[in-house]
């Protein structure tokens, strides 16, 4: 009986391993090592590393289970260096192997190796890389930063020292892009300024690690022999052993499986001569492992998706318990259609632009649609209540492994307040599911936004960087000025929020106080200039600051307040920004508000029932509202140096309409008394009272505030009606 059980167990094990083996073997691992110079002699710093570092990486890969046939080496003139150090001799480390170098360094060979890997080249014994395979890539040599492009892309080139040829960042990107879509690439780049390469080679399936930032040099040190710091520590981390055999504790969780992330972390922590940088677009680094003995990395490679957070790799559900999933980088709003990528809070009363980034993590191209929508926060997970910001956007021919940014105008922005924005993606074979919780579906993204209004009485908050553009520690003066007040001109309240730990010499012309949020600099009404002297900033250091401009309630419509902020060093201006806040035309603001009110009452009528809301929606829908909208182009134009945008003027007097809305207030009150419970109704009663008062006095600001209060007070009702359960 025992024998039969044992046999049965063996058969089960064999069947299981037969089932599992193809999965483990499905992914092949290859390596390309390029040491872009040639060592002539041992023990010469910034020279002998060409061989020592190459040998270190090669031995690491062999220890990790790569075979000699899996590793392709470009080095010097094509001949191994014969080191006097036993630890760096091919014959000693790899008995039976005569040479590890496959090709001499030449730009054509660098290009060819990726081309051959993409197509296969039997003549050179190079296999064809398949989608999903893993390619380890290491480059070592000299690199240079060639400044930045107008779009902020760092420009870079590397030198092949022993031929004098150069390879630019775009050429590197082209070479790597030859690999099949979905090839998982793990790149290590050891040159000065290598951080400048990352923005060119980042990708959906790439984890890249540079030896330094774009504006830094990389250095060597003497370990067992001379090594570039980065290669030494990265190689030791990935091998879990230094070249002379000392254990390197890089397997941080000590589970016996070293991930790329653990290797990166170890290298980053141990390189002290520069700051290493990791580019990991989808946060894949925790998944792949170098060791060939380990199963293939399970990296999602199917369909279209947008990220819920920066490291979201497309897994469903995402890791929403450990990440803020509603502030993701793939959905944002801009005031202008300017291709900017920094999110801005939607501006009430003007056309905003919704941007979404869509990724095809699949291995073939596809067509997709992106539905962009907004909702009340209470309807965050109820797709039926999401309202489109624009018609769906068609995305044609989204290539394999391609990321594309789309945008669409958002014309009808709701009243100031908190809302949710959503992207819903659909592609053939990869449709969005019915779950409104964005974290459950990689076809959906949600970000929470605050619609803001900068009309009279509202605060305009702007973030900017206090920056030291120099390469050395510098004392910077922050100068905040406003033009002398014209007769009748508004005097806005101006505050600057600075980091709490900011080190500075003193303040003149204003006051500095410390709050829980940070240091707050105030520009008194009587002052036109305030200076924070001697702010200590490190080389190229940037600190975030926030300017708040609050227009006085008595400011007249159309009036403008201009605040100028600049950084100065020894009295010389090094950088600055101008903030202009304008009081918008009242009629346009009200027209926009009424449009939103119409939408609100329509929803309320449908969800209610509320006969008054239905009447209100009909009245508001039947009125031809002025086409003009509050356009904050003027403020933005000053920010961005564009031409001043014309502010349209409303042609229709909407006061009578306001009065009709006011007349229906008692009916609305009765409806809400029915729709809300006893605890909820008092807030609504107060809001309706405000509405009535605003109509009576004709105070537009009060009317808008009352509208917002009504919407807020109605939320419990909508929550009950719309939220699940």
């Amino acid at each position: 009986m025992k024998v039969r059980t044992l046999l049965l167990g063996i058969i089960v094990c064999l069947l299981l391993s037969a089932y599992l083996a193809p999965q483990a073997a499905a992914q092949h691992k290859y390596a390309v090592l390029i040491s872009a110079g040639q060592t002539q002699n041992d023990d010469q710093m910034y020279h002998s590393e060409y061989w020592y570092d190459l040998f270190t990486m090669y031995r690491m890969l062999i220890d990790r289970g790569f075979t000699h046939n899996d590793i392709f080496v470009l080095y010097g003139n094509g001949t191994d260096f014969a080191s006097a150090h036993t630890n760096y001799q091919v014959a000693t480390a790899f008995p039976g192997v005569t040479q590890i170098t496959d090709f001499p360094n030449a730009k054509s060979n660098v290009s060819d190796i990726f081309s051959w890997l993409s197509t296969g080249n039997p003549a050179h014994g190079i296999p064809q890389v398949q989608p999903g395979d893993f390619v380890f890539y290491w480059w070592m040599g000299h690199g240079a930063w060639d400044g930045d492009s107008p779009t902020g892309n760092h420009l870079y080139h590397a030198l092949i020292q022993n031929t004098g040829e150069t390879v630019t960042d775009t050429e590197f990107a082209t070479m790597l892009s030859q690999l099949p879509a979905c090839t998982v690439v793990n790149a290590f780049v050891m040159t000065c300024h290598s951080g400048a390469l990352l923005d060119d080679i980042e990708g959906l399936h790439t984890v890249a690690h540079s030896s330094c930032r774009y504006n830094q040099n990389s250095s060597s040190g003497t370990f067992d022999v001379v090594h570039a710091d980065f290669t030494y520590h990265a190689g030791s981390a990935l091998r879990e052993m230094t070249p002379n055999g000392t254990a390197a504790a890089s397997d941080a969780d000590n589970n016996g499986i070293l991930t790329v992330r653990e290797g990166n972390d170890y290298a980053h922590a141990h390189v002290t001569s520069s700051e290493t940088v990791v580019s990991d677009y989808r946060g894949l680094a925790p998944r792949p492992v170098l060791a060939n003995a380990q199963p293939a990395a399970a990296i999602p490679t199917q369909g279209v998706y947008s990220r819920d957070y920066a490291e979201d790799d497309g897994t469903e559900p995402c890791d929403y318990l450990h990440h803020v999933w509603y502030e993701g980088p793939d959905l944002w709003v801009r005031w202008l259609d300017d291709q900017g990528t920094t999110p801005q809070n939607p501006e009430f009363g003007q056309t905003n632009y919704v941007y979404a980034r869509v990724h095809n993590i699949g291995c073939t191209s596809l067509d997709a649609t992106a539905a962009l929508s907004w909702s009340e926060t209470s309807a965050w997970c109820s797709p039926a209540s999401w309202m489109p910001t624009s018609p769906p956007v068609t995305i044609s021919g989204l290539g394999a492994s391609e990321s594309r940014v789309i945008s669409a105008p958002w014309i009808a922005v709701p009243l100031p307040g908190k809302y949710c924005l959503h992207t819903t993606l659909n592609a053939p074979g990869d449709a969005a599911n019915g779950d409104g919780r964005a974290f459950m579906d990689n076809n959906k993204v949600q970000v929470n936004v605050t619609v803001e209004d900068t009309v009279s009485g509202w605060a305009d908050r702007s973030y900017w960087w206090l920056e030291n553009g120099r390469d050395e520690r510098t004392k910077v003066d922050l100068v905040v000025t406003r033009p002398p007040r014209r007769a009748g001109g508004p005097v806005p309240a101006v505050e600057v929020l600075l980091p709490p730990d900011l080190e500075f010499g003193g303040v003149s012309g204003g006051e500095m106080r410390t709050t829980a949020q940070g240091r707050v600099l105030t520009l008194p009404a009587t002052s036109i200039r305030v200076v924070v002297r001697g702010i200590v900033l490190g080389p190229q250091e940037r600190r975030e600051a926030r300017l708040t401009v609050r227009m006085p309630r008595q400011a007249r419509l159309g009036q403008t307040a201009v605040i100028r902020v600049s950084e100065q060093i020894d009295g010389q201006e090094m950088g600055g920004i101008v903030f202009t806040t304008r009081v918008a035309p009242e009629r346009d603001v009200l027209a926009q508000s009424l449009r939103e009110e119409q939408r609100f009452f329509r929803i309320l009528a449908k969800a209610g029932p509320s006969p008054t809301a239905e009447r209100l929606a009909r009245i508001l829908g039947g009125v031809k509202l002025p086409a003009g909208r509050v356009d904050f182009g003027e403020r933005l134009a000053v920010h961005r140096g564009l031409e001043k945008a014309k502010v349209p003027t409303a042609q229709v007097d909407i006061r009578p309409l306001l009065r009709r809305v006011g007349e229906l207030e008692p009916g609305l009150r009765e409806d809400f008394r029915r729709l809300l419970d006893e605890k909820e109704f008092p807030a609504m009663a107060l809001a309706l009272k405000e509405l009535r008062a605003s109509v009576r006095t004709g105070n537009a600001n009060q009317f808008i505030l009352a509208q917002e209060a009504i919407m807020n007070a109605s939320k419990p009702f909508f929550r009950r009606r719309i939220a699940p359960g």
Binding site: N41, M45, N217
Partner: protein, 253 residues
């Protein structure tokens, strides 16, 4: 016999290794106190820097006697070069290059020193005169560079990677020599380039020509007949005889 067999059995025991670079032999030695930095030869004399005081010293090459002193135009002078008529001097911060009258120490000219585009720390380590232009050695990790500068305008004419830590430079007008510093942990080696107008072609002439006698080079100069070498670890300037040139040329095979 057993020992021989055992040795033969050791893998790699007879692996061919790169030929060793021969040593540069001292043929003359000039005793000096320690704390000397920078070296440039002028008609039977050597100019150097007393690093404790920052004073420039003119030393007679025949007996080591100090025959003249000059105040440095920079607080912490680091490197010297002689252009045939005047001295060039620069500090480690490498802000400017100063040309000074060797008799009175009068400042004749100053130029902005070449800079590397990096936020990392860099130091100006060495100067040399190739007969028409200045060479400036800047230590900056893997970006360490040798930069040829127009002495009239200060314009950078060309720049090559130093392939080492450029502690000291010298030139005879045709070649550019560099003493490579290896953190004091390995002997310094003398590298040579043929001076060419094309930086790429010049880079490919890089070769190591000799092992230097010290590990902490501080000066190198060509006196018309041979190279003088200074080292922080040695209390002497040494005139060197270079081995037959070169072991091998750099560049593609």
């Amino acid at each position: 016999m057993a020992v021989l067999l055992a040795v033969l059995a050791m893998p790699g025991a007879f692996a061919a290794t790169a030929p060793r670079v021969p040593e540069a032999r001292p043929i003359a030695s000039l005793p000096i106190p320690a704390a000397r930095q920078g070296l440039t030869a002028v008609e039977g004399h050597l100019w150097t820097i007393d690093t404790r005081t920052g004073v420039l010293l003119k030393i007679r090459a025949s007996d080591g006697k100090t025959v003249a002193t000059l105040r440095s135009p920079v607080a912490k002078p680091r490197a010297l070069a002689w252009d045939g008529k005047a001295l060039w001097c620069a500090g480690a911060r490498g802000d400017r290059l100063y040309r000074i009258d060797p008799k009175e120490g009068r400042l004749l000219k100053s130029l902005p020193a070449p800079k590397l585009k990096a936020s990392s720390s860099t130091t100006l380590e060495a100067l040399a005169w190739d007969g028409g232009h200045l060479w400036v050695g800047i230590a900056a990790g893997w970006s360490s560079s040798l930069i040829q500068v127009d002495p009239e305008s200060g314009k950078v004419l060309q720049s090559i990677f130093a392939e080492g830590y450029p502690r000291a430079l010298a030139s005879d007008g045709k070649s550019l020599w560099m003493a490579n510093y290896n953190e004091g942990k390995s002997p310094s080696m003398l590298a040579r380039w043929t001076i060419l107008k094309d930086a790429t072609k010049m880079s490919l002439t890089h070769t190591f020509v000799a092992c230097l006698p010290g590990r902490d080079p501080s000066g190198l100069t060509w006196d018309g007949k041979g190279l003088w070498y200074a080292d922080r670890g040695m209390k002497a300037f040494q005139k060197l005889r270079l081995p037959a040139e070169p072991m091998r040329e750099g560049g593609p095979a």
